[in-house]
């Protein structure tokens, strides 16, 4: 049972191990040591990236890619800074509006990819530019406000457990666990693994792919909202770094960019790894001007470790499938 899991998810397991290693290293270098405050700090920024990584996962699993996740984040973040304020009702309505718009962006991506038959990379590169532009219209410069009650509820802790982690845990329970048991989930994996086969098997390929990109939009929207909770404001320029990091995250988490393999949990772990690597810098005692290099170096090593997996393979043809 467990051995099967280890066998079928070795990349994911490797990622988890690497994360735990880095995380322990981080906590042990932290002068304050383990405490709710330190965990919450870490959890808040890790959650943002984890949500974007989830967004990226949905695009990748159907053998796609979404280079607009960052832009959708920016758009939903700037929109939130306008509408997620006021009375409780207004806040709730605003939050929903934000997620609806983000999902809409995902659907637009999906439509262009599915019906326009444009490669995901380029399609989302272009739509990303458009979404960023709209975000800039909403917030030419960073500003606005987010309802403090909601923001604090999201970014502090419940009984010593960071709310952010509870949120992530909830999402994983609700989606990761049942995903592989539902027609939708299996259909997404099948499309990523063998699209022609999926068609022949009677999978509604177009609808499924649209759903995947909509999900990507939705999670990017959640990420954008969460940035709002942390920063109490909207900023149109947050996109680019998150887009690229989301890719690094899913790969670190053992999700194969060729589609059809990997899990939501892996994506989250990948995001955790990335964030912990940066956090390690705080008290690493490395020379400040050398930190960016070491951050890149550790990232490269982490990625290479995942790649080193191929040296196990006896059959060079299997190697080529990576």
């Amino acid at each position: 049972m467990l051995r099967d899991y280890l066998k079928n998810n070795r990349r994911e397991v490797l990622a988890i191990a690497f994360f735990l290693l880095a995380f322990v290293a981080y906590l042990s270098t932290h002068p304050r040591g383990v405490s709710t405050y330190v965990l919450t700090i870490w959890a808040n920024q890790a959650t943002v990236l984890a949500l974007v990584a989830m967004a990226q996962f949905f695009a990748v699993v159907v053998r796609g890619l979404d280079l607009s996740v960052g832009a959708v984040m920016a758009l939903s973040n700037t929109l939130a800074s306008h509408v997620v304020t006021g009375s409780g009702g207004e806040v709730a309505g605003g939050s929903i509006l934000v997620l609806a718009v983000a999902t809409g962006c995902g659907l637009i991506n999906g439509a262009i990819i599915v019906y326009g038959r444009i490669q995901p990379i380029v399609a989302t590169l272009a739509t990303g530019s458009v979404f960023t532009g709209i975000a800039l219209l909403l917030r030419p410069t960073p500003g606005g406000d987010i309802d403090a009650t909601l923001a604090d509820a999201m970014t502090y802790d419940v009984a010593g457990v960071p709310t952010a982690l509870i949120l992530l845990g909830g999402i994983l329970l609700a989606i990761h666990i049942p995903f592989r048991r539902t027609g939708l989930g299996v259909a997404m994996y099948a499309i990523g693994s063998n699209e022609a086969g999926a068609v022949q098997s009677g999978v509604r390929v177009d609808a499924t792919r649209l759903t995947a990109y909509a999900a990507a939009g939705l999670f990017a929207g959640l990420a954008g909202s969460f940035v709002g909770y942390v920063t109490f404001s909207g900023d149109a320029n947050i996109g680019p770094s998150y887009t690229l990091n989301s890719l690094a995250a899913v790969v670190l988490g053992g999700v194969l960019l060729r589609g059809g393999a990997g899990t939501l949990l892996g994506a989250v772990v990948g995001a955790f790894i990335l964030r912990t690597i940066s956090a390690l810098m705080f008290f690493s005692g490395l020379p400040p001007l050398a930190q960016p290099f070491f951050e890149g170096l550790i990232l490269a090593i982490a990625i290479a470790l995942g790649g080193a997996d191929v040296f196990r393979l006896r059959n060079k043809l299997e190697v080529l499938e990576r």
Binding site: H30, N44, P142, A151, V230, S233, N237, S278, L289
Partner: protein, 341 residues
């Protein structure tokens, strides 16, 4: 009368801030955002140079610098981490001027002094150190207008080269230019140079090729590119209000281009630390400190003093504020190699 007004000059109409004195030595941190450009690297160097000076070293128990990239959440996390680790003073270049409400309150609770500089916050809760973006760009405009007057010319058509879109610094500087020139009925052509020499050079070249000749140029940053474009186009020499990069002054000097080079000085990172320490020692400071803007007109450029043929063109000449402390020598800055921190 606040502490050392000659250095910590108040922005007109600003309030003052004072905390209970704390015993040193202090744990200080500088949380930078993006590291990948020369200005930021120099800001880090200045901070470390300041901390290395004997008169300051004694007051400091620990000094950390981190760069977190263009991500407000990461910067907030970094600051929180230092607060959690019991640091006394934290300076930072804000990635986003409105993102730090939560941090400020947490810092208050923990008794940590925050001093934002360069990209400052839209808040009156903490002491902020900066050059006034309005004054900075205003100085450039004045320099250009003076040069035009000296040449007995009327400003009719001015080229404005803006910076990176989507942040308040770029916005404020542009507003300053328009406020100063529009009343004079000047036609302003605006291009976006992203504070980047190469980009400025391209967009200015295009502007010259399509809009024809100008009477003067105001460039936020990357002015060297702007000048290159003018020279390449064989445009008649016109006054320029440009940034404080070494290369800009070298070019203006070499080609006898009139105008002013106003420095947005990376050394303000050191002043911010100075302010943090002053506050920890219980001194009263203006909530918004406006540093004197180091400017120089072409005629006053002197090699080895405010212009260095021996240094890189991308070197920012803001090596210090004499009103605050003895300016850093380039060697002092360069001496801060990552190996001997």
């Amino acid at each position: 009368e606040t502490y050392r007004p000659e250095c910590f000059a108040p922005e007109p109409g600003t309030s003052t801030i004072q905390y209970d004195a704390k015993d040193g030595p202090y744990k200080l941190a500088f949380v930078n955002g993006f590291a990948g450009n020369d200005w930021r690297v120099q800001a880090i160097q200045s901070a470390k140079a300041w901390a290395a000076r004997p008169e300051n070293a004694g007051k400091i128990e620990e000094f950390k610098v981190v760069s977190v990239g263009n991500d407000a959440t990461a910067q907030i996390a970094a600051i929180d981490n230092f607060i959690a680790a019991g640091y006394d003073g934290i300076t930072f270049i804000a990635v986003n001027p409105t993102a730090f409400k939560g941090v400020i309150s947490r810092a208050k609770r923990a008794g940590t002094v925050l001093v934002p500089f360069d990209n400052i916050l839209d808040t009156d809760q903490v002491v902020q150190v900066n050059e006034s973006q309005f004054a900075l760009e205003g100085a450039k405009v004045d320099g250009v207008l003076d040069a035009l007057k000296a040449a007995g010319k009327e400003p009719k058509k001015i080229l404005e080269v803006r910076g990176l879109p989507g942040n308040s610094t770029d916005r404020d500087r542009s507003i300053a230019v328009h406020n100063a020139l529009e009343p004079l009925g000047v036609e302003i052509v605006t291009v976006v140079g992203n504070w980047d020499t190469g980009t400025s050079q391209k967009v200015v070249a295009d502007a010259l090729a399509t809009h024809g000749e100008f009477d003067g140029v105001i460039s936020q940053h990357g002015t060297a590119g702007t000048i290159n474009a003018l020279l390449a186009a064989g445009h008649p020499t016109i006054p320029i209000g440009g940034d404080g990069e070494n290369g800009v002054r070298l070019l203006m000097k070499e080609h006898g281009i009139p105008g002013v080079s106003a420095v947005y000085a990376p050394a303000m990172s050191a002043v911010a630390l100075e302010a943090a320490v002053a506050l920890l020692e219980g001194n009263e400071l203006p909530q918004s400190v406006h540093l004197p803007i180091p400017t120089a007109v072409t005629a006053d450029f002197v090699d080895g003093e405010n212009m260095f043929t021996s240094l890189p063109k991308s070197f920012n000449l803001g090596v210090g504020y004499p009103e605050c402390f003895e300016v850093f020598t380039p060697e002092e800055l360069m001496g801060q190699s990552p190996d001997n921190q």
